[in-house]
């Protein structure tokens, strides 16, 4: 029998055809390994104290209350209802790519988005969906009803890629469109002009939104696993380039690492969360890294 955690591996998750089940398995598999709720500090807020009982995490003891009363109290939290989540997916042609993985970048993004959607709906946060390539495409307005999950999931299953990415223009549009402060989760390979793209994301943050950028690259785009002479073709522009893989690989990996480092630096300066992942990584890594960093921040 396959353990639930196994579905954190993209290749196994891919075997589940239904996206709702897939999202559920991913989230459950992820939650299964955690002691405490991963949601502390994330779209929840303090509601009341209760008496400490053995088995509770000592980290949750309210030491101020202890100072005042001389007794141990545990902080209790409840969901925050006014944080709206937006899943923003890049549908440019380059996202429909994998070299030797079971999931394309888009599949991986959908899976990740579905899992996050599932998580948010579970805690009754309103979640919406936005897709974009050259401009904004379809969108599902954010709602916190349980029926929102199948709506978004069905939308996600229908997604297909086309055209070149113009992230900056799309995000400018999105910024203008969002009226309430919310959490914007961007799933993209960020293969476009760097400067306007970074600027647009930072503008989104400056507009008061929490922004999480899932920078999703194919495993081949990170490791450059080719050999010999190869002619590389960009699926968006159709441009080709012949290179000796052995010679180009080293320089390429260096360039990609620098690109990621630059993005991390820029986003960090603007308090934008940046999660670089590649399609060979288990989902939990992406989720865990992100959620833990969220938690530490609050």
């Amino acid at each position: 029998m396959v353990a639930v955690e196994q579905y954190l591996k993209p290749e196994l998750a891919a075997q589940i055809k239904r996206l709702d089940l897939r999202a559920k398995m991913v989230v459950r598999g992820f939650l299964h390994g955690l002691h405490a709720s991963p949601f502390h500090g994330f779209s929840v807020e303090f509601s009341e104290h209760r008496r400490y009982s053995p088995g509770d995490d000592p980290k949750d003891i309210d030491w101020v209350a202890y100072a005042k009363t001389g007794k141990y109290y545990i902080k209790k939290f409840e969901s925050e209802t006014n944080l709206t989540g937006y899943l923003a997916l890049d549908l440019s042609e380059s996202m429909n790519y994998t070299y030797r993985q079971s999931l394309t970048k888009l599949d991986y993004s959908i899976c990740l988005a579905a899992a996050l959607c599932y998580l948010m709906i579970q805690q009754q946060d309103p979640v919406g969906l936005v897709t974009f390539s050259e401009t904004l495409k379809a969108s599902v307005p954010p709602k916190s009803r349980r029926s929102q999950l199948p709506t978004i999931l069905s939308q996600l299953t229908k997604l297909s890629t086309s055209g070149q990415a113009n992230i900056s223009a799309s995000l400018v549009q999105l910024t203008a469109m969002l009226r309430h402060r919310g959490l914007v989760m961007i799933f993209s390979d960020l293969l476009c002009d760097e400067e306007p793209m970074v600027k647009a994301i930072c503008n989104l943050r400056h507009a008061g939104h929490d922004v999480i950028v899932f920078h999703i690259l194919d495993e081949a785009e990170v490791s450059f696993p080719f050999d010999g002479m190869v002619e590389l073709r960009d699926p968006e522009t159709g441009r080709t380039q012949s290179v000796s893989a052995a010679d180009a690989g080293r320089d390429y990996r260096k360039t990609v690492d620098e690109f990621r480092a630059r993005l991390e630096r820029s986003f960090s300066e603007n308090r934008v969360d940046y999660v670089p992942v590649d399609t060979s990584q288990p989902y939990d890594k992406a989720l865990m890294e992100y959620l833990l960093s969220r938690r530490n921040r609050f």
Partner: protein, 789 residues
């Protein structure tokens, strides 16, 4: 440069394969979709340039690899003299290739223009320099000898037969080692080869096949005298050069001791240089580096002939090697009993039964720091006959040949001489010359004036010497003629008193007197016409330094012509007129000198010559003593000889038999010799080995004459030729030197077939192959994962 077969070079065509593949078979790169192309494009231009360069280099490497492999398979060979040049060319071309790479990298890497052009210039210069060097070496260098190993060889083998070849090392004489080595060499020669063995006997042509030459080699032995190795090498080179066979080889087997090579001069080196490339000269060294020798020097006698009862002193030198621990040496003197009936050959054993020998003296010689000392023996009261003495150094050493010295002294009964001279002073001078022992011996010479000649009893004298005879009466001349014809000796010394119309004097002269030839421009002096004549024997010890040209003659008698049977022993340098003649009168012998010796300084006439008044009258003295000894039957200087020379003995049939049995210890047989009755001489063939030689004949009773031969001390010097000496003797690049069989094999192989470049080429092939692998893997290395895909 030559190849196993030129057609194998056709493999070079294969170089076109990688070129064609490069031009037409260029594989299309694999097409891959890759969205992150923007990151690749940034470095693509740089990548593309270096990729093209490496691709070109790979092509170059593959072409080179195939070309060198094709050349290697064709088995290139160069003359071994050119190997150094070829390696040098290889190094220069390698540096040129590296410089080319650097230049290419400079152009690709867009280095500063000066760097690019400087690197290019250096590379081009190196290529041109290497190419020129290669071309010049190949065109001007010696051609590679024919490659057919079974082709017959014209081989002349020169064997050093010097006395030093008797040196014993590791229980074997060098000459034995040389024989073995030569036989092995002969075995290595192809069957159709023509061979000549030059080991003393003259060789007219390369007439032997290798098998027959083996028999000749067995007979080769070291001689008792220094070898003219240089002359032999020259003859050997001429012999092989004259051969029609393509491969010509001269082998010189020698212990490389100095004496045999002393005659080496630039002439031989020049001769060898002219045939270099055509004739292979291989020197084989059979000598030892640290040879030691104890030995005796040449024996020196104070008189070479003696009369009965006189004493003779013999001296020699004892020499020890520097390294010897001893400070003294024992030298013994042996005397052989005089027995005219011995030796005889014991036919059953093939050995000689000789007269008994006993030690008559033994000396302990103390040697100082010089490591040599003189030892002197007095041979007293010599008896008539052949007195044989052997001096022996009592010590065992590797070279025994110079540990013994042989001395033979012919002791004659007194032979009375009559000197006839106008001036008593001159008569006395000549008498003293003839009879040096007059003080304590019987008076053997008398002097009278011409006036007393007619009354003199000539039969009491063996020899009559006429000094400056005037016009003599017919009776006096007849008396002299009859005395001589009866077996006497007559020495006529012509001077101013003789007359042109000689009258009766002509009867005892060798021809009719013509006139007195005069010359005062320093152009007239004696010249030896018959070098082996016994009269000159007394002078033989000075033969090397006998310089007659300083002893000028101003006036001398000339003959209209010489009578039949008369011949000149000495002539004048300018006119070929006879100075000293010999002619027979009946059974006797007459010698005639045409200018007076001794010539006193007188005030009443001009000097006829400077023969007596010069600073070195020893030649004139020796000539007179030699003449009188010859006439009286003495064999002056003829008994103790240097080995390796033939000897001519006076053989007056009135005293000596015409036929002799000739014995020597090493003959193993009896040889027969016959004297030349007309000339009255006996020619003894070369005394090859040191020792005694006996001539036994029969006259009224048994007659024995003895000769002894010695190895010249100079010929047993073991000092070796240095490499520089050998280079200067033969020319630096004209010969090859080897010391053992494997070295000979290697040396000859290289010389006959040149140097194989195959290993060198294969080394380059291996290096190129590795480089090609390294570079091609960089282009086409598919990982396992990639292939699986």
């Amino acid at each position: 440069m030559s190849f196993l077969h030129i057609s194998l070079l056709a493999g070079l065509v294969a170089v076109s394969v990688p070129v064609m593949l490069h031009l037409f078979g260029n594989r299309q790169p694999k097409q891959v979709v890759f969205p992150a192309l923007r990151f690749v494009v940034q470095t693509a231009r740089k990548q593309s340039s270096s990729w093209r360069l490496r691709h070109f280099l790979l092509l170059l490497l593959r072409c080179l690899l195939i070309a060198i492999m094709a050349l290697a398979i064709a088995r290139p060979r160069v003359h071994s003299a050119m190997l150094g040049s070829m390696i040098g060319v290889g190094i220069v071309l390698t540096i040129a290739a590296i410089a080319t790479l650097i230049a290419a990298a400079a152009w690709v890497g867009r280095r500063p223009l000066t760097v690019r052009w400087a690197a290019t210039l250096i590379a081009v210069l190196l290529w041109i320099g290497g190419g020129l060097w290669c071309a010049i070496s190949l065109t001007r260098g010696p051609a590679v000898p024919g490659g057919d190993q079974s082709a017959p060889v014209a081989a002349a083998i020169v064997i050093d037969t010097s006395p030093t070849m008797r040196y014993v090392s590791a229980g074997k004489q060098r000459i034995a080692n040389a024989r073995e080595l030569v036989k092995w060499l002969l075995g290595e020669l192809p069957p159709e080869s023509r061979v000549g063995i030059l080991a003393g006997a003259p060789v007219a042509a390369l007439s032997l096949d290798p098998a027959a030459a083996m028999t000749t080699v067995d007979l080769v032995d070291a001689s008792g005298s220094a070898t003219d190795l240089v002359g032999r090498i020259r003859a050997a080179v001429e012999l092989v050069s004259a051969s029609e066979l393509e491969r010509k080889e001269v082998y010189v087997v020698s212990d490389l001791t100095l004496p045999a090579w002393e005659q080496a001069n630039g002439g031989l080196a020049e001769a060898l240089k002219q045939v270099r490339g055509e004739v292979l000269v291989q020197v084989v060294d059979v000598g030892d580096q640290d040879a030691v020798n104890w030995g005796l020097g040449d024996p020196q006698l104070d008189a070479t002939a003696a009369i009965v009862g006189s004493d003779v002193t013999v001296t020699t030198t004892v020499t020890l090697p520097e390294a010897a621990d001893e400070d003294s040496a024992i030298v013994e003197l042996y005397q052989e009993a005089i027995d005219p009936t011995l030796p005889v050959l014991q036919s059953d054993k093939g050995t000689l039964r000789k007269a008994a020998e006993k030690v008559i003296d033994r000396q302990v010689v103390e040697l100082g720091a010089q490591r040599s000392a003189q030892v002197e023996f007095n041979l007293r009261n010599l008896a008539a006959g052949s007195n044989n003495f052997r001096i022996k150094l009592v010590h065992e050493d590797p070279l025994k040949i110079d540990n013994e010295r042989f001395v033979s002294i012919a002791v004659e009964p007194p032979q009375p001489t009559l000197v006839v001279a106008q001036e008593p002073r001159l008569g006395q001078l000549l008498t003293a010359l003839v009879n040096p022992f007059a003080a304590d011996q019987e008076q053997l010479a008398e002097e009278i004036s011409y006036a007393a000649l007619s009354d003199a009893r000539l039969e009491s004298y063996k020899v009559v010497c006429l000094y400056d005879p005037p016009q003599l009466s017919a009776g006096a001349v007849d008396k002299l003629y009859r005395h001589t014809a009866a077996g006497g000796g007559l020495l006529t010394i012509l001077g101013p008193s003789a007359k042109t119309a000689g009258g009766d004097l002509s009867r005892i002269l060798p021809g009719v007197l013509k006139n007195v030839g005069q010359r005062d421009d320093n152009r007239r002096f004696f010249q030896v016409a018959t070098p082996t004549h016994p009269v000159l024997a007394e002078l033989s010890q000075w033969s090397d330094s006998a310089d007659w040209s300083r002893l000028l003659v101003f006036s001398n008698w000339e003959f209209e012509s010489l009578n039949e049977g008369a011949f000149a022993i000495l002539t004048y340098s300018d006119s070929q007129q006879p100075a000293l003649t010999s002619h027979a009168i009946g059974r006797g012998l007459a010698l005639t000198l045409t200018t007076p010796i001794p010539e006193p300084e007188t005030r009443d006439r001009e000097l006829w010559n400077l023969l007596w008044v010069s600073e070195s009258p020893y030649l004139s003295f020796g000539l007179l003593v030699g003449a009188i000894n010859h006439l009286s039957g003495f064999e002056a200087g003829g008994s103790t000889q240097v080995a390796g020379r033939s000897v001519t003995l006076s053989n007056d049939l009135s005293r000596w038999p015409a036929k002799y049995s000739f014995y020597a210890s090493h003959f193993g047989e009896v040889r027969k010799l016959t004297a030349d009755e007309e000339v009255g001489e006996l020619t003894v063939p070369k005394l090859e080995q040191p020792g005694f030689y006996w001539l036994r004949g029969q006259l009224s009773g048994p007659v024995l004459r003895t000769l002894s031969a010695n190895v010249p001390a100079a010929a047993t010097q073991l000092d070796r030729l240095s490499e520089q000496d050998l280079d200067s003797a033969l020319g630096e690049d004209n010969y090859r030197l080897a010391t053992n069989r494997s070295e000979i094999t290697s040396s000859i192989g290289q010389a006959r077939f040149g140097r194989e470049l195959f290993p060198l080429f294969m080394l380059v092939v291996a290096a190129l192959f590795l480089a090609e692998q390294a570079m091609s893997n960089r282009f086409y290395n598919f990982s396992f994962a990639g292939n699986k895909r």
